[in-house]
């Protein structure tokens, strides 16, 4: 799959602070790409470079195979984390203005806007001033303005903040729909639940460096630790004895007479070996591999990285 956006060895220095240190990402076409990282990691710096708000000190960015240039601005849609609208302006007038700034003609903007306003069920707001809208309503307008010019690449920075669950769902569905239509999307967020749900690929940035990337599936596979969840009925002591030295019991809890235990297997032990060992001792109801959540991976990787950095700093 060819890539819509490729950033190679990006370095960005702000006075004493290095915001990006040799960061490369490769966003395939038609993919939802999660850009993850704690606050201040450098995500926004990278996004601003992609949007040509700032230029990298070193490194190159390619958009759809060509070096990033001003004419690409109209092919990118950007929903910044720090976003807002002119409060005193009317919704429709403002949406028209922002659409035209992205290079749309007046007629085209008007036509597309009325379609989107219908789709989001907000047509009656056209002549309202932005200050009369609730935060969620304003976010909807903002989302429409971002995607209106049908960009090839959509960059969404914390797109779900300010939405209630119903509206979050509406926006989520719109993101899926846009993906199906062929739009590539970069999603920057702290919400690991939505990353797991939506993203195909991720890159994790911490302390100005990329520390992890790959498909969500692959990353999760890579972070498996051979932990299994076993649900059984029987004596806890005989269960522990059956595990022997090769398996480590991490924790257990009693659920209405059944016991649920997390067990970490030694590398040379298979699940079949485990089952053989315990089948005679307790009644097994289920065995399931524990796959780490993106949240766990995030915390683990970022935590490790920070400890390492502190050690280096000292």
């Amino acid at each position: 799959m060819s890539s819509i956006l490729k950033a190679e060895n990006i370095v960005k220095q702000y006075a004493a602070h290095r915001a990006l240190d040799d960061v490369s990402i490769d966003v395939p076409k038609g993919c939802i790409y999660g850009l993850l990282g704690p606050n201040g990691a450098g995500k926004t710096s990278l996004i601003r470079i992609i949007n040509q708000i700032t230029r990298p000190d070193e490194g190159q960015v390619f958009f759809d195979g060509a070096p990033l240039a001003p004419e690409h601005i109209s092919q990118i849609g950007y929903l910044p984390e720090e976003r807002g609208l002119y409060k005193k302006m009317e919704v429709g007038e403002q949406a028209m203005y922002l659409a035209q700034l992205k290079g749309m003609s007046k007629r085209e903007a008007k036509q597309k806007l009325s379609m989107w306003f219908k789709r989001f069920d907000i047509s009656p707001w056209w002549n309202k001033k932005v200050e009369e809208l609730s935060k969620g309503m304003a976010q909807k307008v903002q989302f429409i303005v971002t995607v209106l010019h049908e960009p090839k690449l959509l960059i969404l920075d914390e797109p779900f903040s300010g939405f209630d669950p119903i509206n979050t769902n509406i926006v989520k569905n719109e993101i899926y729909r846009l993906k199906e239509e062929g739009t590539s999307i970069i999603l920057s967020t702290h919400n690991m639940g939505s990353v797991e749900e939506i993203c195909d690929q991720i890159a994790l940035i911490n302390n100005s460096k990329k520390i992890l990337d790959g498909t969500v599936k692959q990353v999760k596979q890579d972070f498996k630790e051979g932990i299994y969840n076993i649900e059984f009925k029987g004596n806890m002591i005989s269960f522990t004895n059956a595990l022997g030295a090769a398996c480590e019991l991490l924790n257990s809890e009693n659920l209405d007479g059944r016991i649920s235990a997390k067990v970490k297997l030694a590398p040379n032990i298979s699940t079949n070996d485990l089952l053989k060992a315990i089948v005679g001792q307790v009644e097994v109801f289920g065995l399931q591999e524990v796959i780490p959540s993106m949240n766990d991976i995030f915390i683990k990787k970022v935590g490790e990285n920070s400890i390492k950095k502190e050690a280096n700093d000292e």
Binding site: A15, R48, N51, Q52, I53, T54, R55, I73, I76, Y78, L79, P80, E82, R83, G84, L85, Y86, K87, K88, M89, Y97, L98, Q100, L101, K102, Q142, V145
Partner: protein, 445 residues
């Protein structure tokens, strides 16, 4: 370019549609007309003249005190008490009593004035001078045994007519008073507008920052385009405002001329003649003024000023000054998050402006002096100070140099402000120091 137009359009329309714009458009010309008419009117017309009854116990001053346009002296030969009572009788024609006691010859400070309405300070000075003159004459007569005519011949009346001369030898008697008023009014308007619209630029930038729309917009346009679009858009608002003002003011002025200009009574005519004849500097205007009312007189005064030049320069220095300061105000707006933080950065901008208005008073008195010359070349003060000088007539090379310097520094400050702006608009939180802002100017994006 198309995007800049869009920005200019938005900045312009959102402001012109505001109610405050409409209010200022209507109130402005009324104030403006008042500013033009009232000083001219006050300068030429004086209604509160005093009729002073002289109670002269020395009999030295009878018939000797000369009337002025503010004071008419009269003699009734009655006691002070009677004269004082007569001030309040119905048929009394006097408004004040001047009592000159016998001892005045030895004690000159014993003269007293009793009035109903306080006379001007200048009227009292005038009476003091008159009494002193008569006493002096009397002493001269007695000392040297001279006749009255011989003594008064010692004091010729001198009047200076100020003439402006150019290279070709053409001379022109200028009405300095009108040039002064006009220059000052136009300079005040420039000062006022630079502040008014400069602050609007700053507020606009802060608004975009606090509304957090800035990043949405600069992902579509360059920060410099946004800044220039805003400055130019607001400049057009200012020009529209001035345009409306000029149109309405001209309307009010023309209306005043037609209504009052034809309404000449003999009474008014003679009054004006009297005023003019006692004012030697303005005597060449007396003929023109005598066939018109007060408004005609203002009109005739106005004809002595090169209005196309004055208006042309006004528009140039107004725009130049606004653009210069506007970009600085934009930089201030970009550097801070809210208006309360602007104070510290406003200071260096407002000081030259306020200084210019203070110096304007000096320049008005001496429009060709050193201070006037340098002040009207220095770009941060030239829009105001050159405007004060222009109605008096300034050499072309000076105006051209001043304009050139203004254009160069406008380009310079805009480039600098653009750099501050570009970084400042994306900075939130801590207020930057001057040092940090200095760093922004030298860093590249």
């Amino acid at each position: 370019m198309n995007k800049i137009n869009l920005i200019i359009q938005r900045e312009y329309l959102t402001r012109v549609k505001k109610k405050s714009f409409l209010v200022l458009s209507i109130v402005g010309p009324i104030l403006f007309a008042a500013l033009m008419i009232v000083p001219a009117w006050l300068a030429s017309e004086d209604e509160d003249s005093q009729n002073v009854e002289v109670v002269d116990e020395t009999r030295l001053f009878i018939g000797q005190l000369e009337n002025s346009d503010e004071i008419n002296f009269g003699y009734e030969f009655r006691s002070l008490k009677d004269a004082q009572e007569d001030l309040f009788s119905k048929e009394g024609k006097y408004t004040a009593v001047l009592h000159i006691p016998k001892v005045v010859v030895t004690h000159p400070k014993t003269v007293q004035l009793f009035y109903k309405d306080k006379p001007k300070g200048s009227s009292i000075d005038y009476m003091e001078n008159q009494i002193a003159r008569i006493m002096e004459d009397k002493k001269l007569q007695d000392l040297y045994n001279l006749s009255y005519d011989q003594v008064s011949g010692l004091r010729p009346k001198v009047g200076i007519v100020a003439n402006k001369i150019d290279e070709t030898g053409n001379t022109e008697a200028k009405s300095d008073k009108l040039a002064m008023i006009l220059g000052l009014v136009l300079a005040m308007i420039i000062y006022f507008f630079i502040f008014l619209f400069g602050v609007q630029v700053m507020r606009g930038v802060i608004e975009e920052k606090t509304n957090r729309i800035i990043e949405v917009i600069i992902s579509s346009v360059k920060p410099f385009e946004l800044m220039m679009g805003k400055i130019v858009g607001i400049a057009l608002v200012a020009l529209t405002q001035v345009g409306i003002w000029v149109a309405l003011s001209t309307g009010i002025y023309a209306g005043a001329v037609t209504v009052y200009g034809d309404d000449i009574t003999n009474n008014q005519k003679s009054q004006i003649e009297q005023v003019e004849s006692s004012n030697p500097v303005g005597s060449e205007l007396a003929n023109a003024a005598s066939d018109g009312s007060i408004f005609m007189k203002i009109k005739n005064n106005m004809d002595t000023i090169n209005f196309p030049l004055v208006i042309g320069c006004f528009i140039f220095f107004f725009l130049g000054g606004y653009l210069l300061y506007g970009s600085l105000f934009a930089a201030v707006g970009a550097a801070v998050d809210n208006e309360t933080d602007t104070q510290q950065f406003m200071m260096p901008i407002t000081i030259p402006l306020i200084l210019a208005i203070v110096i304007a008073q000096v320049v008005m008195d001496n429009p060709d002096g050193q201070l006037a010359f340098w002040g009207s070349l220095f770009p941060l003060t030239s829009p105001i100070l050159m405007m004060v000088r222009i109605p008096f007539g300034v050499d072309t090379w000076e105006v051209a140099l001043s304009m050139g310097l203004l254009i160069i520094s406008f380009i310079g400050t805009t480039a600098m402000a653009g750099k501050i702006y570009r970084i400042g608009i994306l900075m939130y939180g801590k207020k930057p120091s001057f040092k940090e802002i200095g760093k922004w100017i030298v860093t590249k994006t």
